[in-house]
Symmetry: C2
Subunit: 439 residues, 2 copies
């Protein structure tokens, strides 16, 4: 491979993130070129509408409406896929990898859905795939897991990976505000999409959990192999009850590995975290990740998870790594070697996934209900740790919040099914996990 | 350069950290070799006493009492300098670099004192120098600054870099215990050295600040060019007063860069941090670092800063980077390029280093003292924000805690000098900075 003195960069997608990459690369060009020893040329960018006014001005000649033309252009050394979606983005990514180019991606949904195909294409054709921006943009967590903590087996990784959900939960907690009102406000402020389900139902977090689980364990876990639960049924009352019990509530991705059983668990759910837990204290749009390795112990990271600038910072760090790779041959700890991890593991069955639970039931306000609920739980060997009764919104109803001692997902799932069948249980129960992630 | 199929590793120093590296490299060898595509051979280790019993058993043939023999051995590809000190460690480091080997170092004092010589030797002779373990062992902060956040200019980096001090301060705060008693207990538990001054007087933190400042700004700052103040004069009463004002107290390294003035400030001092600040909530032997970049915003990192396993994790990550480098040529973002940073800057003069201050005076308990103190401060244009008077330990004395509005180091230094000259001021004043590091 000849070493180019100028690296041509193509941006497929020139929306918020693409323009951020352009602007920051331009303003930091001198330092970056000095550091990397190569010229960086923003050669092409693809847009949907050539005539649209943009905040970042670029020469008209670099713009195209065809991202595939950039992906296939042999003059482009580094293709940044910043479009999102999983159809055209997949074509663009594969087309670039097929010709042995470097692809820099911020697309967690694409990696989660088509990761094995992408990595195989990179390996077969000598292309390379970088994706620091795909998880927790402002936090260099991909590099930390892949390189900085390479000495470790990861027993537990958990964290807040979706800033929209964390913003909503923080607002609900701080302002005692109902979910729907906070969501509407978040949409107005541009913190939530018009269709919020990708974020609030946990799917975006699940995509990112899939990427982290693969990096840490070399195993592709699809979202339909995970527990994925969202935040839409949490109420201000849940925050108050949780606080009474000494907890905050966060939507977490949780990736645990039992090296003795050789089992991996990947799940996404709202979680009660002890008020003193450092992740519990990360508010607003910030992301936070706790990583426990068998050598290093527990380490913690936080920063902005998304948005123009944090994502651009991650994309540019990948461009820098790509520049180093293209100049000097293979870089550190590439992807093929992750998939060669010698300890392939299986997914943990539900009966091996343990936690304490928080269960809120809306029940008929009449004697004997607690006895019936307790009897169902006892039958499934789910042991009650505390009970808090309070008023419910509906007339003639009461709220019953139970916490359990440690139980497993299978027992709790069966319990839930039976509880729902009770005539005295009026509404869909709300089940949250309690995160006992002490250092 | 021919690519070896086995990399020979030599450990200069086989104490706590050296044995940790040996043990974890041995137990994780299969994964690491699969990931890196090369065999890792623990070839030699130097000790002071060949006969000493060690926790980690190694074949007698690998041991030597001569670390320089390892450094000079042409069969050793990667020399890990884990001895500490700055004399023999310097010789070992230079000897290895002179023959073009890779040196992995945990030695912040050495880097701070002899960094320019070491980097020059590496550049001249084709050697390489890795030092992830030198600052905040368990946190991959060197890699984050050098690679993950390469898109950024760093406006502010601050954090807790010495676990011994943080342990002592945490114990003082949580148990309302005097410094001397906590220090004695820390020595008994092995958390503090017999000679504690390197830690508690801030020098170890200053060495690490020097390393971070160089990485982030390409400038070598010696400890005698910094404000370096330790923790030994802080009392349990200071914690109480600080808490009343809404603060905790941490020993921080603070590195700020004013890009408009092109000035750099590097300092180490006990700092009042708002109780909600995430760094303020990092307790015990843990380290924590907040990094603010112009693109990414503020990111935060914490983990164990020292000790056998956290340091071994960092050393092994450097060995992995070195393995990649030795197999594939130059790795990402190497040192020469940092020193080529085009924006060399000067150190900020004291009058440009601003903060609010916390000043505790032990004064004669008589009328008019506050007026005299306030008059001195007014003369130097240091504006008082709050005054808290309380009892002092000495009979006939009172404690006077003043906080100021933002002032600068020159004005505050001059104020302090005049205050000490007042007859009513009985004891050496205690001056702490207030860290207004809001996100």
């Amino acid at each position: 491979m000849s070493v180019p003195s100028t690296l041509n960069i193509g941006l497929c997608g020139f929306g918020t993130v693409g323009q951020g990459v352009w602007q920051h690369l331009t303003s930091h060009r001198a330092e970056l070129e000095a550091r990397l020893g190569v010229k960086l040329n923003l050669a092409r960018a693809s847009v949907r509408d050539l005539k649209k006014k943009r905040d970042v001005k670029v020469p008209a000649r670099v713009l195209t409406t065809d991202p595939l033309a950039i992906a296939r252009d042999p003059a482009i050394h580094i293709v940044c896929e910043l479009m999102g979606g999983t159809t055209l983005a997949r074509e663009v990514t594969l087309a670039a990898l097929w010709r042995g180019a470097v692809v820099v991606s911020a697309n967690k949904a694409l990696i989660c859905e088509h990761g094995p195909e992408i990595i195989a294409a990179a390996q077969k054709h000598g292309g390379h795939f970088f994706f620091e921006a795909s998880v927790a943009g402002g936090i260099p967590i991909i590099k930390a897991l892949r390189e900085g903590l390479v000495a470790n087996r990861f027993t537990r990784i958990y964290g807040i990976l979706n800033g929209t959900c964390n913003y909503i939960l923080t607002q609900m907690e701080e302002h005692d505000a109902p979910y729907a009102a906070v969501l509407a406000e978040a949409k107005r402020l541009g913190y939530a999409e018009a269709d919020e389900s990708l974020d609030v139902d946990g799917w975006d977090t699940a995509h990112k959990a899939s990427v982290l689980a693969w990096l840490a364990h070399g195993v592709w876990v699809k979202t339909d192999q995970m527990i994925v639960e969202g935040i839409s049924r949490i109420t201000p009352a849940d925050f108050k009850t949780a606080a009474t019990l000494g907890f905050g509530i966060k939507l977490l991705a949780v990736i645990t590995r039992d090296f003795a059983k050789n089992e991996l668990s990947v799940r996404v759910h709202p979680t009660l975290l002890p008020a003193g837990n450092v992740v519990a204290n990360v508010s607003g749009v910030f992301n936070a990740i706790s990583v426990t390795g068998d050598v290093v112990g527990t380490t913690f990271y936080s920063g902005r998870g998304a948005g123009r600038d944090a994502t651009a910072s991650a994309v540019i760090s990948d461009i820098a790594d790509a520049a180093s790779l293209l100049q000097h041959g293979k870089g550190a700890h590439l992807l093929g070697e992750i998939t060669a991890a010698p300890r392939a593991c299986r997914l943990a069955p539900p009966q091996h996934v343990l936690s304490r639970f928080y269960l809120r039931l809306t029940v008929r306000d009449q004697p004997g209900v607690l006895a019936r609920v307790a009897s169902v739980m006892a039958k499934h060997k789910v042991s009650i740790a505390s009970v808090i009764q309070g008023p419910a919104d509906e007339p003639g109803a009461a709220s019953l919040v139970l916490t359990t001692h440690e139980s497993d997902e299978r027992a709790m799932g069966a319990t839930l099914k039976r509880l729902k069948a009770l005539a005295a249980v009026l509404d869909e129960p709300v089940l949250l996990r309690i995160g006992d992630f002490e250092r």
